[in-house]
Amino acid sequence: MTGRARMDIFDVVGPVMIGPSSSHTAGAARIGRITRKILGEKVVAADIGFHGSFAKTWRGHGADRAILGGLMGLDVDDERLRNSRNIADAAGMKYSFRNVYLSDTHPNTLLLRVTGESGKALKLQAASIGGGRIEVQYIDDLEAGFAGDKPTLIVPHYDVPGVIAFVAGCLSEANINIARMGVFRQEAGGAAVMIIETDGLPEETVVEKLKLMPSVLNVTLLESL
């Protein structure tokens, strides 16, 4: 954990968590948890890739159990994390672990491929950056770059003029302040994604309104982790 401008006392006396490592256990659980939230449904299959320090130490740090627990929605302080492999087995969840090599990324990075109960698939790359904090780097190969510690809107869309203004306008009308925003695209006019971190939690009506825009493909609202 490094010096941060807005650090408070519960960042240094806390979090309450299942050990042994804030980065390799709590961070791994959070990555699993946010993956489950982004998928938006129960995870029935998961292929988990460990990069860097994770690849060397995942077993001893219980990162496998932490991720599986997170994928089932467990929080970092939930004692069921310890037995999550058994819980996943009992629920009929399929999972596999392997080491991967990812170039040019944080030393503690995970690559997850998950499938939901409806058959929906998601590929996600995220890093555990220390003290249990995480950064989602890629969603389905599109750059993301958010921490999940604030309400976050993920808006895949077509890269056409006016989409960003429309989305920002809807949030403005709802009196929601944008804390941080990123727009990432693969090529001009192609698939793109907006990642918007907000101070307040947008209501469901805002999400429904955003979905009315034809160039908006989908809207996922994540509450803060």
Binding site: P15, T25, R59, G60
Partner: protein, 281 residues
């Protein structure tokens, strides 16, 4: 939130660092005092449960490298076989119990990190057991520890990967020492001096986990950490001023951390991890 120990001492005035820190926490987060104290009380309970659970002789880590030794130490202390007397022995036992429980995927409070989670609970439970400090006093003292931790995180780091073990177990010892000074009726200036002593005592300590796991030497460094905190607290309580300004020692620790090669910052490539017998299984 806090930039220096000097700021904490000035803010405390004739009062305590904890009162100053609680006020600031409430103001900056916009939360009522009751909620903030209640949250910390919940953390204290987790600490207490972890100390108790870690004494079970059956505690074992996933790797099998650690576990069950807190139970051995406890028996030795209670039967009078140890050299350090009961207060030190019991404090050491509590630190080891919490650290071993953490390694066994137990629920703990990172303070400031999971790897150094045994030191602060050991300090608090020992002050309660030996001197009758109430839970309310312990909750107050946790805010003093937290304020110190914020200063260290702000000026240096509390991450072994960045600053070595001095930044983890060293910072935890500094936090615990300040908390104990307050619980024993010392002044805010003495609490700051105790931090200075604790950091000075482990300046340069490297982070060298065997197999890259938070186990060896980490759980034993938690034991060393509580003993460091106790003696640093006593030096300050006796009126000995830290020979160097505590804030300068935090800055020095940061500079030392920056000089440490990556092999000695949690990569498991140097120090204890480089012992021939520590080779990968």
């Amino acid at each position: 939130m806090f930039q220096s120990l000097q700021e904490l001492v000035l803010g405390a005035g004739e009062g305590t660092i904890s009162d100053f820190a609680i006020k600031r926490q409430c103001r900056e987060k916009g939360e009522p005092v009751g909620a903030v104290l209640g949250k910390m009380y919940a953390s204290l309970q987790v600490m207490r449960e972890a100390v108790a659970a870690g004494l079970n002789p059956k505690v074992e880590s996933v790797s099998g490298l650690t576990g069950g030794n807190a139970s051995l130490l406890n028996k030795a202390v209670l039967s009078g076989k140890t050299a350090g007397g009961t207060l030190l022995g019991k404090a050491a036992t509590r630190a080891l119990a919490t650290a071993e429980y953490n390694a066994a995927m137990g629920r703990i409070v990172a303070a400031p990190t999971a790897g150094a989670c045994g030191i602060l609970p050991a300090a608090l439970m020992t002050m309660q057991d030996e001197y009758g400090a109430t839970d309310d006093h312990l909750v107050q003292a946790l805010f003093t520890a937290g304020a110190v931790g914020i200063v260290i995180a702000h000026r240096a780091s509390v991450s072994g990967a960045q600053g070595g073990c001095q930044a983890e177990c060293g910072s935890a010892a500094a936090m615990a020492a300040a908390a104990m000074v307050e619980l024993r009726g010392g002044t805010a200036a003495q609490a700051a001096d105790a931090c200075g002593f604790a950091l000075m005592n482990v300046m340069g300590l490297v982070c060298d986990p065997v197999h890259g796991l938070v186990e060896v030497p980490c759980v034993y460094r938690n034991v060393a950490g509580i003993s460091n905190a106790l003696v640093s607290c006593d030096l300050a309580l006796s009126g000995i001023a830290c020979p160097l300004p505590p804030d300068e020692l935090i800055d020095a620790m940061k500079a030392v951390g920056d000089m440490l090669p990556s092999q000695l910052r949690e990569t498991g490539e140097g120090g204890c991890a480089a012992c021939p017998s520590a080779a990968q299984p």
